[in-house]
């Protein structure tokens, strides 16, 4: 899977593509490090190409959310597909993230 982080118009945009299984999540964690310390910048995670996410991936998202919240910035998930939305639903993540 691919993960990249860009800063556009004062916001941090992360793009996730492919399948984020446990192994992939370990690798992606490195790339997504800047998002943990967003320093007040809002975070947008583009999930259009994300086809699969395991609990480790969810854990990373939660970590990003906690960090952003502490700084007062928001985290938005974009274009999450139904299967993954279902997982968010099961785990209650649907209530704590913003979706677009």
């Amino acid at each position: 899977m691919n993960a990249k982080v860009e800063e556009i118009e004062g916001k941090l945009i992360a793009t996730l593509e492919g399948e984020m299984d446990t192994a992939a999540a370990v690798e992606a964690e490195e790339k997504l490090k800047p998002l943990y310390t967003s320093n007040g910048k809002d975070v947008i995670i583009e999930c259009k190409g994300l086809e699969y996410i395991a609990s480790s991936g969810l854990r990373i998202l939660l970590g990003i959310l906690k960090g952003a919240r502490a700084n007062g910035s928001s985290v938005t998930l974009r274009n999450v597909n139904p299967d993954i939305k279902n997982v968010f639903q099961l785990t209650g993540f649907i209530n704590i993230f913003n979706f677009e």
Partner: protein
Amino acid sequence: MNIFKKSKGLTLILLAALLLEVISGIQYYYTHGMLEEELEKRAEAELTTKVILTRSNLNLAVNSLNGHLWDVMRNIHHPDSLFDVAECVLRSHPNLLGCGIAFEPYFYPQKGRLYEPYAYWHNNDVVKSQIAGDHHDYTQNASYQEAIRQKKSVWTEPYYYEEAKTSMVTYAQPLKDANDSIIAVFMLDLSTDWLGDTLNYRQLYPSSYTLLLSEHGNLIAGPRATEKNEEDIQRIISFVNDSVTDKLLCHTENSRTYSFVGSKGDEAFVFCTSFKNNPKWQMVVVCYEDEVFGPLRDVRVNILLMMLVGFAIMGFIVYRFFQNERNLNKTLLKQTRIESELHIARDIQCRMLPMTYPPFPDRTDVDVCGSLVPAREVGGDLFDYFIRDEKLFFCIGDVSGKGIPAAMLMASIHSMFRAFSGHDNDPAHIMHRINESACQGNDNNMFVTMFIGMLDLPTGRLRYCNAGHDRPVVISRDDAKQLEALSNLPVGVFDDIRFEREEYVLPPNCTLFLYTDGLTEAMNPKHEQFGLKRLMLPLARIGDQLQAHQLLEAMTQAVKVFIGDAEQSDDLTMVAIHYTPQSDEATLVDGIELKSDIKEVPLLNDFVKKVTEKIGLDKSLSKQLRLAIEEAVVNVMSYAYPPETLGDIKIKAMYNRRFIKFIIIDSGRPFDPTEAVKADTTLSAEDRPIGGLGIFLVRELMDSINYERVDGDNILTLRKDIEQ
């Protein structure tokens, strides 16, 4: 007024008091009247007596005088010897003041104009002297003049005689000569004091006194003057003399009764009677009302006080009586309330136990039924069963004692069993934790006998722990025998005892029968116990042919028949577990062996993808399966083997028309993912813990997960039901 409404008793008492008061008042009135009548009679008698007494006194003197008349006449020519006559009279009458004969002027020419030989008492001796003289011209005295005028004996009005320093009355009898002309007046002087003392010597009442009034209404004699009566006496005298009759109370033949108000406002009765003959004096007896009726009033006051005291006591008694009643009622009410609450408690207690039958209608491998027939009092028996992760958790228990404490302990143990077995697959450990809790704060020294079991439904492996309870019976074809089990101590006795877990594999088509001692100790009227033998016989005979609920009905019936009319003394509790595993034929689709390294996860995912494609599951379902399997396997990779060690993990996929199963086997340390506490998905972002999601997702996505440790291997079975 409210107090009257509240207490009928007090009102009653007060009415009774009022009534008694009225009656007592009427009684008083009549007694008063009677006393008055009595007084009048007594006064009348007194008057009569005193008149007679006075009369006799007077008569004595008069008779004495008359008796010496001839003496006088005999010595008429010896004027000097007349002194002796007078002396003689006096000596025979010590009570007379003086006695004398007053001659007509110049009767004895040699004696001069006035001659009165006189004798009087002085210092206890008789003194004779001729008292006539210029300072004492007896012809001017009323006594002399009256006697001369009336030509008969007279009693004078009372007067004060200076020389004698006393008041007196005089009896003057004219003496006549042969020619019937008066020559002298024979006189007797009576001391009014003496008269008064005699009359007032005895009285009807302490302050009563007697007055003697002359014909003209002057006071002849009366009581010694005291502060009390002096003023009154004067007023009474004028009162009586008024002869105004408006104060007249009564007028009989002999006496008159007046009511009189004294100077101090004290009322008195005045009784008067007149002498019939000469002298026409009046006798007056005065009685003061407060003395007459005083005792009556005192009695009345005393009675009143006694009544008040009596009523106070009565009131107190009644009050206490009613209070007792009220307390009794309150107690009764409380008791009734407690009984009804016990009833409700009993109901709630029974509702807590799983009562629906069949409890697992969708399952074919096990059938469970439990029943509790309560004794009259709330008891402490409990049972419970539920299925988690393809394991049947069950328990049966008996709390010592009865009533609310037992019921409450039972309820708490029940909820502990549920809570602990929610994430604990070791019956001994569950027992240990329950014991710890039960020993804390167990002041009543209550204990619980208990049996906890966990039956792994796919394998029939029964893990159990016994704590002092009756051993269950395993019923298989034509055979019923008790399960081998250590007895251990009951729960709640010592908090540091170790509980041992035991195992037994149930054969297919057998029934496990659990019961409490309410069954074996049920007594019939002859005080025989039902006993274990009577229990085993029917179980052996028909146990395996019946369904769970039928078996319980049969046993309940057997006990009821046995105890007959006797009262059921303890709860009758039973659980029957009918184990009928189906051989689930499933085909092996594929298998894979991995190392416990996260890096191998993609291999796992490919494997699952291949399997789901082979079976032909839809994409969504496949994705779910993938996630579930990944989480489960990652769990094993993370925890089964020590860090830095790579162990083997085998994954097998089995499937049939109804379900697909993934079996994950590793030989790492014993690790039961099904014991993990459920994650709370309702927490806010800040409160969510980072971990705990893996197994949660497995449970959510799969239909059942089952863990077993067999021969050093962890075997985790994940099952998803599919419709095909």
